[in-house]
Amino acid sequence: MKILHHGNGNILSIIFKKLKRPDGFVMQLENIFKFNGGVHPDENKTVSTRLPIAKLPIPKKLILPLRQHVGHVAKLKVKPGDQVLKGQIIAEADGNISAAIHAPTSGKVVKISEEILPHPSGLPDFCITIEPDFKDTWVEKKPISWKTLDRNKLIEAISQSGIVGLGGAVFPTHMKLKINQSQLINTLVINAAECEPFITCDDMLMRERADEIIQGSLIAQTILGAKECVVGIENNKTEAYEALKKAAQKTSIEIKVVPTLYPSGDAKRLIYLLMGTEVPKEKRSVDLGIQVFNVATVAAIYRYLEFGEPSISRIITITGAVKVPQNYEALFGTPLSELIIAAGGSPNKTKKFIMGGPMMGFDLPSIHVPVTKAMNCVIESSPELFPAPKPVMPCIRCARCADACPVNLQPQELYWFSKSSQLEKARDYNLFDCIECGCCTYVCPSNIPLVQFYRYAKSEIIAQDKSKEAANTARERNDFRLARIEREKKERAERNAQKALGAQEKQAIDEKKSTIAAAMERVKQTQQENIKN
């Protein structure tokens, strides 16, 4: 592991040390390793942090997609008509890279059908629909004495919890704890940066449930056997910082403040900010002995082990143009429309909602999509908040995009290559290093939707590679077939030749025989004639 800068703090950390907040509270930024680029959009976070987290009532129906995580689709364990209890597994993990789905409340399974999901593709997928009985009866909860159980048992237990990365990555959590024995984890990084504008679900969770987060971090640290645990939090979350600091008092967990700069919440960027370590392109952070968990994920681990509560709900921010922006604890499967009603309804006629933050989020296909494990924030769009894109002008090569790119790419070159379909060139210029953070588009004076070009170029290249692969297999298959035909032809020809040869020989023999016979005949005749004579 190569540390690029040593911990004497660079210019930025010195500047930020002097930065006092209006209330006189100073969040010390020390030993921060600033990455290049990044942007600072309007935060828009205060609107949704005025009210505490509220519990969203149980809705009339819950729609639970079987795929809410990275990896294999969960295996169905119920059928229509089944009664289920709160916390009961209704679909189990299919193999290691998968996560179970639990019933968020008690009720009846009414159907299993394809429903529209909150996904950029807008495609439907299989979901279990439950009609709650509003009794909210738990299955027998089985808290786990995590203080005494051994590591493998804990991982085994957590693999039943349905917990996935709640920061939005939705990777099954037990897999992240079950690290290859050969790779020791030195540092556990807890991602509390929450750098996207508008989103405050982690912020509120930290303010209200800092203890759960710290306990969960300690559990994760123990399971991973990590020597140290660092929480990285942006310096715009004063209250959350204080809450965490307090909760972590008697522990060795370090709370480190990073500057409010998008995309500092990106795992590789956060690791660099905190430790000055660049995770190489083709590697994952675990290869360097660093594991990253989101605050909400570790809190979920704690709740599962301590109270036996599986992953059935999450904190979600509803904000933007809604009347009362707020954070809710919502059961998975709750239709988004319920959340909107809770937030005072939507005054806009447009009814456009964005899932995620304004930098990387996407338009939701419908207001009836369910809340899923990946849904951290829903923003009601309005022309005032998010004006329509301005007309695109030609690129003037001003390099603002390059200055803003946290990966040090040259977005203007990538744009040129993607636009002119020089996809190989785009790949050479490291298109696949682009994290699609949108910083380049954010600063482009020509209003060029750069990221959309990269998304397109990436999918084109992947499609081409696939079709190339398919073409290769097809060609190989065809070559093989041709070779076989060729071989068979040859064999046949050989056989024919053989046969032909045989016939010739026979003929020859026959001829010989007949010659002999004829000769014999002649001899006989001569003899006879001789005798006669």
């Binding site: 990455f35 959009p41 950029p120 392109k281 304004p358 930098m359 030609p394 990966v407 290093d433 004076p445």
Partner: protein, 339 residues
């Protein structure tokens, strides 16, 4: 259903950027008028009108929307820079012709905004310099040095029809540029100190030019503050020019002017902040910008000291423009996570 994120953007439009460039030119222009009179304003006006008419015509022919491309302001920036580069008492058709050539050959022949390989203003300037060398090297004498009575009206007359003025008045108004003067006098074996005794020299550079260049410098600093340009280009250019001129000056103070003279006398400051910073025709990588600025500075000095032309900026810029794709591809920054 779309994924059009980011939904928020925060960038000045091209028009705003160009407007700020024009704004940054104003202190220099004001001082220009103060020292040399109204000629430069007339040239700027002529250039502005010409550029708008020409671009409208070309955009119409190319079937492109006229409004956004006229309003982007890039044409005006080119026109103003050309107007500031030519002698302020050149006949009116010089700037008109130059502007038309800039826009056609420097810009639209390559595809218009964003596509030009060469700096458009310098394309126009170079064509004019090659085609009309004597007009292009007739520099105006600062108003306060003019012998006899000349006023703004005379300047207007000389721009629109030099026949309206007597030969004496004309001679009183113009002379060789300071750089040109040094060059021709050096060939007559005059020591530099004697040459610089001439009335057209002020206390560090050409008389009057010192002041105007300070105006450009102020505008340049404003653009740096507004993040319209990055520091790499001006710093690389000016420091290289200074250091290399200093070396020559140390070797032979009698034949090579002081580094400060090189920076203040010709168009160096304008070049450093306004010309080589044209984003379209300059490199985009930080390192590339540094090499580009250094390359232009060296070439400018070589042309000034040893070349056939008194001022080398246009040729140096155009030559380095050719190298930009190469410079860019050789100076790609290290990608995050690539070792």
């Amino acid at each position: 259903m779309e994924n059009r994120s980011p939904y928020v953007v925060n960038a000045p439009s091209i028009s705003i950027i160009m407007l700020k460039v024009l704004l940054a030119l104003i202190p220099g222009i004001a001082l220009y008028v103060y020292v040399f009179g109204i000629g430069v304003i007339i040239n700027i006006l002529l250039a502005s009108v010409t550029v708008i008419l020409t671009e409208c015509a070309i955009l119409a022919i190319r079937k492109l929307p006229i409004k956004p491309f006229i309003l982007d302001g890039s044409g005006l920036v080119t026109a103003w820079l050309l107007a500031l580069s030519i002698p302020s008492i050149a006949p009116w058709w010089i700037i008109v012709l130059g502007t038309i050539l800039c826009i056609i050959f420097g810009k639209h022949l390559y595809g218009g905004l964003g596509y030009n390989l060469f700096n458009p203003a310098m394309v126009g300037y170079a064509i004019l310099l090659i085609s009309f060398p004597s007009i292009m090297t007739h520099w105006q004498i600062p108003s306060n040095l003019m012998i006899g009575h000349t006023d703004w009206l005379d300047q207007i007359k000389v721009i629109f029809n030099s026949n309206l003025l007597s030969k004496e008045t004309l001679d009183a108004m113009s002379s060789a540029t300071p750089l040109d003067y040094i060059k021709t006098q050096l060939t007559l074996n005059q020591p530099l100190a004697t040459i610089q005794q001439d009335k057209i020299f002020g206390f560090v550079g050409g008389r009057g030019l010192e002041l105007i260049n300070l105006g450009y410098l102020a505008g340049g600093l404003y653009m740096l503050k507004e993040k319209i340009i990055s520091w790499h280009l001006p710093v690389a250019f000016l420091s290289t020019l200074f250091v290399s001129a200093l070396l020559f000056n140390i070797i032979s103070p009698d034949t090579f002017a002081s580094p400060l003279f090189h920076i203040i006398s010709g168009g160096s400051i304008l070049c450093a902040f306004f010309i080589i910073t044209d984003p379209v025709s300059a490199p985009t990588t930080p390192k590339g910008k540094i090499y580009f600025g250094m390359g232009i500075a060296l070439l400018v000095l070589i042309i000034r000291l040893f070349g056939g032309y008194p001022e080398g900026i246009a040729f140096a810029v155009l030559f380095l423009n050719i190298c930009v794709p190469l410079i860019d591809s050789l100076t790609q920054p290290r990608i995050f996570g690539h070792k």
